[in-house]
Symmetry: C2
Subunit: 239 residues, 2 copies
C-alpha cells in the first residue's frame, strides 16, 4: 500500500490515520504536557483503512507515542523564538528547544498511557493523561520502548513538574455537579486540570473570573495565591 506521497525529495504529503475525541474543546485548561492530568481520557479513532491488524500486539505496551498535527496552530505559522509559559513569559528559547505548537511542520508528540483498545467497525484506542484537543488529527502511533526511551537521569532544563495549586469547590458548584448528574470522574478531571494552573502568564489578578470549557460544560473559577476556587458549573455558552 502506498497512499503517502513523496512530492519530491524535499516535501512529503502526510495524512491522518485517525482523530482524537477529547473533553478539551479549547486550548484554555488543556494540560501543558501529557501525564499531568491522569484522569483526562481520550479516544483515538482510526480511519477505516487502519483495521484491527494494524494494532495487533499494541496492548502489550503500557504507553504509546501519539504523533499528531497541531491543527489549531497552523494558521499562526511558526516562530524561531518562543516564550515558554513556565519561564513566566520573560525568557525566550529557540523553537527546537521547546514543545511549542508554533513550530515548523507543526508536529506534536505525546506519550500517553494506553488504557484499552476496542475493535468494532473501527479501531478505538483509549488513552489517559492526555494533553490533546478534540479533533486533533493523529498521523502516527508507536509503542513506547522503555529500554531505549526511559532516561531517568537526563537533564531537562527548566521543564520540571510544577507545583500544584489547591482546588476548592464552592457549595454552589458542588450542588450544580449534583443537579447536572455529573460524576466523580468529571469532578476529578476538573480538579486535576485546575491544579495545573491554566491561567495565562499575564493574567494573575485575584478577582478575575476564568472560564474553562470541558465537554459541554463551562467551569468558572478564581485563583487567590495558590488556591483555586470553583465557583460555578454551567452548560457551555459560546462567547
Amino acid at each position: 500500500m502506498n497512499d503517502f506521497a513523496e512530492i519530491n525529495k524535499q516535501q512529503w504529503l502526510i495524512k491522518p490515520i485517525g482523530y482524537v475525541h477529547s473533553p478539551y474543546k479549547q486550548k484554555f485548561g488543556l494540560a501543558r504536557q501529557p501525564g499531568l492530568v491522569p484522569v483526562a481520557q481520550a479516544r483515538i479513532e482510526l480511519l477505516p483503512t487502519f483495521n484491527a491488524d494494524c494494532v495487533r500486539g499494541l496492548e502489550e505496551y503500557d504507553y504509546i507515542w501519539v504523533q499528531f498535527v497541531f491543527h489549531g496552530a497552523i494558521n499562526d505559522g511558526w516562530l524561531p523564538l518562543i516564550r515558554p509559559p513556565k519561564l513566566g513569559g520573560k525568557e525566550k528559547k529557540g523553537v527546537f528547544a521547546t514543545r511549542s505548537p508554533h513550530r515548523p511542520n507543526h508536529l506534536g508528540l505525546s506519550l500517553l498511557k494506553l488504557e484499552e483498545i476496542i475493535i468494532a467497525d473501527t479501531v478505538s484506542i483509549y488513552v489517559s493523561g492526555i494533553d490533546l484537543l478534540d479533533q486533533t488529527p493523529v498521523i502516527d502511533i508507536k509503542p513506547y520502548l522503555p529500554f531505549v526511551e526511559a532516561k531517568t537521569h537526563a537533564a531537562g532544563s527548566y521543564a520540571q513538574a510544577r507545583e500544584l495549586l489547591q482546588v476548592d469547590w464552592s457549595a454552589e458548584a458542588l450542588q450544580q455537579l449534583k443537579d447536572f448528574f455529573l460524576n466523580d470522574e468529571f469532578y476529578q478531571l476538573v480538579s486535576q486540570s485546575l491544579a495545573q494552573d491554566p491561567r495565562p502568564v499575564h493574567q494573575h489578578h485575584k478577582d478575575k473570573i476564568f472560564v474553562m470549557n470541558l465537554y459541554d460544560w463551562d467551569i468558572l473559577f478564581q485563583v487567590n495565591g495558590s488556591i483555586v476556587v470553583v465557583t460555578m458549573i454551567r452548560k457551555h455558552i459560546e462567547v
Copy 2:
C-alpha cells in the same frame, strides 16, 4: 512565518528542517534502535532558514527527539502487519505496535544523545547513539522531557535489549586498520555495530561472509554461534 502548508483538513505538506550526515550509508549494520551503539555519531545540519535562534537553550538538555522521514522506505509503501526481526521473523505484529519504517506517513522518531551544537554558517547538531542513515531528512527536533517521558517501569513487550555478540578481529583486519590509518573510534564503531548482530533473520549459516559498509569502508565478517570475526577491512566497492 508560514511556509508549511495545510493542503486541506486532511493532508499536510511537510518539509525538512535539515539533513543527517552519518557513517551509515546503507541499512545493513545500522543499529535497530537509538542508543545501542553509543559511539555512532552523526551531524544534523539545519537548513539556513533555521538559524542559531531556533536552537537557543537546546544545549540545556541531555537528549533530544529527532523526528525524520524514513526516506529509503517510501517507495516500498506500508504494511498493516510486520514481522519484527527480534521475534525471529516468525510472528506478525501490527504496524502501529512496531517501529518499522514501512508505516503510513513513514515518520521516524529517535531519542539521541546531544553532544554539541556548533553555530557557523549553518547550525550543526552533533548527536550520538544514532540509528539514522546518511542523508535522512529531519522534520523536527524537540527536547527530551524526563519528568514526563522517562517511564522506567513501563511494559515494553518483546522490545528488550538483546544479548550482545562477542567481536573478535583477525590479525589481517587489525593490520588493515593500521594500513588505512583508521583510529580507535572507527574500531569501536565497527565492534559496537557488529555486537548488535546485524544479520538478517534467515541468514545465519556460519560460513557466509557478510559485508557492512561504514563511511567509505567495507567491513567483512563471519559469525559462528555468538562470536563475530572481522576478517577484512577494505575500501568500499559498489556492488
